[in-house]
Symmetry: C2
Subunit: 150 residues, 2 copies
DNA sequence: TAATATTTAATCTCGTGCGATTGATTGTAG
DNA sequence: CTACAATCAATCGCACGAGATTAAATATTA
């Protein structure tokens, strides 16, 4: 008896393992990020700030696929921790400029070992990691093109 | 000049595209799930209920990698919508048994076209989808084994 | 220039998610 | 049998994340 393929079964979903995997990875980061007093979203925000030093909220959002409703409170928390500074642009008062502080730059040193420690947790072969990376960005590209905004 | 590989750059992360991709996919589901008056998490919960008809909260959580702090309010919302029923087990009063209702079963018909419509959005080649599926479950397996609970 | 449209960060509401705790129930060991 | 441990769902606090709206500033157009 052939069992018909059921597209509404959880095990036949491609999106569910993606959703679950993302959650489990964020969970895996937690012990390492706790040492830095950062959540995962704050961590990737700091990554963007470490690289660019100074960005408008809009630009941070473009890198992270997040909008101001998420970023505004998050950046305020990072400001409270002393890792970033927030000020209005003088050229265009609509823009809020986020810049890295010395403490923020210093935090980068503490974070240096995080990627390797996380990678050790995930134990993914380089070949598969590369394929995964390519496929994920392909999907992101397809979806964000359709949804506009990015 | 060789540019040194920087593991703290966003573009060198494997976890970030996973996180971003999961979010974009949930966003892509939205228009289709709006028709069913379900969020994504409610949708996958219904998927589990369509398949198993009756489960303890603990078991639902085992399938979805969620615990009662997320599921209890979510299941109450599904109960309000009339898609599931909640009752205490008589054999073990600690267990709460979730069961699908007729309205919940009927909803499955309305949901039938969702997977195909979403797949059309994502536009992923079957070969890549299969690899992605395998890799994601491999990672989930590695992480959940380490983190216990599952 | 004056009215209108656009852009931007911020705010509000709702629904997850997670860690930690609580309280009730059941299982277990002395 | 009784103290103790384990197992549940539920609750609480906090931090996202998205959609919708707001208010201010800037750009565009009539």
């Amino acid at each position: 008896m052939a069992v018909p393929f059921d597209p509404l079964k959880l095990e036949n979903q491609i999106c569910f393992p993606l959703y679950a995997c993302a959650k489990e990875i964020v969970k895996a980061y937690k012990p390492y990020l706790d040492e830095l007093d950062l959540t995962y979203t704050q961590y990737i925000t700091m990554m963007v700030m470490w690289e660019h030093k100074e960005l408008r909220v809009k630009e941070v959002g473009k890198y992270l696929y997040l909008d101001s409703s998420t970023l505004t409170p998050l950046l305020k928390r990072l400001e409270e921790k002393g890792y970033v500074a927030r000020r209005r642009s003088t050229e265009d008062e609509r823009d809020l400029i986020v810049s890295i502080t010395d403490a923020g730059t210093a935090l980068r040193e503490k974070a240096r070992t995080v990627p390797a420690r996380l990678a050790a947790c995930v134990e993914l072969e380089p070949q598969k990691a590369a394929e995964l990376y390519q496929t994920l960005y392909q999907i992101i590209g397809t979806l964000t093109k359709k949804q506009g905004k990015f």
